[in-house]
Symmetry: C2
C-alpha cells in the first residue's frame, strides 16, 4: 500500500507564522528556504511579511526570491523557485527593535496561520518565536502560543500537551510555567494520567510508535529514597504509573531524574514525562540546543515550533541557527504525512 500513498495528491503546504518581526524569525525562514533541498524541508509558505522577508534575506546575505501568493495551494507549485508568502499584512524590517506594529503583525500572522491549518488549507502550522510581553500589549491574553492554538482548535488548554523533541530525546513537562515552589502542590495523579494518556496517543498517531514507552521522572532527588526525601513518589507518581500500566500504557518509574537522561538510559523509552519545566528542558537543551522542537500534542491540527525565543539581541546579524526551524518544519511535515496515511487506510 506504500504505492497508494505516493500516488496520492501532495499534502497541502505547511503554514508558518512569522513570529515577532524584530526577532530572528524572518531571517531564519529565508535561511531555511535556501537550504530546502539538502535539508529536505517540506513545502511551506509564510503568512504575511513579503517586504519583511525580502529585507531580512538581503541583510543575511541570502538570495531569496519572494513569491506573493493569494492561496496556500499556490505554494506547492512555486516552492522550488521562490519562498511563497501569503499576501497579507506587512511591516518594515527593523531587527532588534520590537515595536507595537510588529507585535500586531505577529499576532495577525499567528491567527491566520492557525486558521488555515484548522480549515485544512495548510497541513499544519509552524509558529515563529514571539515575545509574550509585547503580544500582551496588543490583546493577546494567553500564557503562550500553545494555549492560543489550543483555544482556536476548541481544545481545553489542559489537554494541549507541550512536548519538547530533539534528535536524541523527547520530554513532556507535567507542569510548565509555574514557580518551582508550587510544583509539589500542582502535581496530582489526575494531571499525570491526563498528560500521559494524551502523549501516548499522540506518539502513536503522529509519530508512528505503536506502543510508546513512557519513563516517568521522580520529583525528588534519588526518587525520594523510599520517602526519606519527599513523599510525592509514593503518594502521587507511583500510583499514577500503576494506573497507566493497568490501562495498557507502557509506563515505568518513578525514575531518579539525574540518571534518566544518561546515554544508556535514553534508549529505554520513547518519552520522558517530567514533573516540572526545567527537569524536561535542561536535558533537552543540554543535548540538542540547536535542534529542539516544541510540539503541541492532543490537537486536531499539527503544530510545531522551534524551541527558542525571539533572540532580539542577535537578530539581523546572521548569527541565528536555523537548525530548530528546519527540525520544526520537518517534524510537522512527517506528522502530517502520518495522519494523512492513517486517514487513507481508515477511509
Amino acid at each position: 500500500m506504500i504505492g497508494a500513498v505516493s500516488d496520492s495528491p501532495p499534502l497541502p503546504p505547511l503554514a508558518v507564522s512569522l513570529g515577532d518581526p524584530a526577532g530572528v524569525g524572518p531571517e531564519l525562514l529565508a535561511a531555511v528556504w535556501v537550504s530546502r533541498v539538502p535539508r529536505r524541508v517540506p513545502c511551506f509558505f509564510a503568512v504575511g511579511g513579503a517586504r519583511l522577508l525580502r529585507e531580512a534575506a538581503r541583510q543575511r546575505g541570502l538570495d531569496v526570491p519572494i513569491r506573493e501568493i493569494a492561496h496556500p495551494q499556490e505554494a506547492t507549485a512555486c516552492f522550488d523557485r521562490a519562498l511563497p508568502v501569503l499576501a497579507e499584512f506587512d511591516v518594515a524590517y527593523a531587527p532588534g527593535k520590537p515595536c507595537h506594529q510588529g507585535a500586531e503583525l505577529a499576532l495577525a500572522s499567528l491567527t491566520q496561520a492557525t486558521r488555515l491549518a484548522i480549515a485544512g488549507a495548510a497541513s499544519g502550522v509552524v509558529t515563529g518565536p514571539i515575545a509574550k510581553s509585547l503580544l500582551a500589549q496588543v490583546g493577546f491574553a494567553h500564557p503562550g502560543q500553545t494555549e492560543f492554538v489550543a483555544e482556536a482548535c476548541g481544545v481545553a488548554a489542559e489537554d494541549a500537551v507541550m512536548m519538547l523533541a530533539g534528535p536524541s530525546l523527547r520530554t513532556v513537562p507535567i507542569t510548565v510555567h509555574i514557580a518551582l515552589g508550587r510544583v509539589p502542590q500542582a502535581i496530582s495523579v489526575e494531571l499525570i494520567l491526563r498528560r500521559a494518556r494524551i502523549a501516548a496517543a499522540a506518539l502513536t498517531r503522529d509519530f508512528g510508535i505503536a506502543a510508546p514507552r513512557l519513563a516517568v521522572a521522580a520529583l525528588n532527588p534519588h526518587a525520594g529514597e523510599d520517602g526519606r526525601m519527599g513523599e510525592e513518589e509514593i503518594a502521587i507518581i507511583a500510583p499514577a504509573i500503576a494506573q497507566l500500566r493497568a490501562e495498557g500504557i507502557a509506563a515505568t518509574g518513578p525514575h531518579a531524574a539525574d540518571a534518566l537522561f544518561a546515554p544508556r538510559a535514553r534508549g529505554s523509552y520513547d518519552l520522558a514525562l517530567c514533573m516540572y519545566h526545567d527537569q524536561a528542558l535542561i536535558p533537552l537543551k543540554t543535548l540538542d540546543f540547536d535542534a529542539g522542537v516544541n510540539v503541541t500534542l492532543g490537537l486536531p491540527i499539527i503544530r510545531t515550533s522551534p524551541d527558542h525565543g525571539t533572540a532580539f539581541g542577535i537578530a539581523g546579524q546572521g548569527l541565528a541557527d536555523s537548525g530548530a526551524t528546519i527540525a520544526a518544519l520537518r517534524m510537522a511535515g512527517e506528522c502530517a504525512a502520518r495522519r494523512a496515511t492513517a486517514h487513507e487506510f481508515t477511509a
Copy 2:
C-alpha cells in the same frame, strides 16, 4: 621553576577505600590498575581487602598481582608490577550480596584511608561507593561520605562543598539531599555566598583557575520572568551574585537553568552553581555519565569519588565501567600535585 618540581621527591600515593565489597568497587580497582599505563592513572593503594581484590580481579578475568604492603610509601615502588594493598581487614568476595561484615569492612577502609590522607601518608583519598543504609547499621551516622570525611578533618559539614565534575562540566548544588519542595525555603543569600566562596577558592587552589567564572542558576523557569514565576531570583539569588561580585568573584546570573548547560553556554563559565540536587546532576549525568567525579571542596585534604553507586545489581559481572574511578583518581592526583607545587613556591 618547573624543573624544581620534577626534581622533588614523588608525591605520596593516593589512598583508595574499597566501598561496599559486594558492590562494583573492588572489581573496578582491579580494572583500573590494569589500565594504569594507557590511562595515566597515578599511583594508589587499596586500604584493605587483599583477598577480596584478588578474587574480584579473577572473576572479572583480569590478571592482577596483589602486593600486600605494611606502609603507604611501599606502594610507589611496586605499583608498576602489582596492585598495592595495605594489609588490614579483609572479607570473602560475594558480589551482589551485601552483608553486615561487608559494611564493617567498608567503614573501616573509609576510616583508615581518610586518616592516612589527614596524616599526609597519602596525598589524597578516593572513596569507593558505599550503601548508606547498610553503613548506618554498623554505626555510620553521617548522611554520606562527604560529611564523614569533613568531620574527620575537623571541618563543619556546611563548609564541605560537593562538586560534580565531568570532562565537559562542573556543577555545585547549593542544597543537596532534601525534598524538592523544601528547596525554596532552604536557599538563602548566606548559603549561596558560603558555598560560592569555598568553591571559588578551591577552583583556584586545586584546579589552577586563577579567576574562576561562576554561573549561578535560577531556581524558577525562565529565571522567574521578573518575578512572574517566583520571587527567589529577585529576593535571594541576584543579591547574592551582587555581593560575590563586590568581593571580586566573577559571578554571573541568575541564569535560566534550561539554557545554562547548552554547548555554547558551557564555555562561558568554570562552574555552575545550582540551587538543587537534580539541577546540578541532570546535566552532568546527561553529558558525562561514565566519567563523573564527586569532589569535596573546602577540605584540608584532597577527596574525590566516582559519581556512581554500589550497583549491586551488576557487581561481579564485568559490566561496570571503570571510567569514573579512573577520572576520580586522576583528578585527585592532579589536585594533589597542584597543592604540592603551590606549597613549594610558598615554602
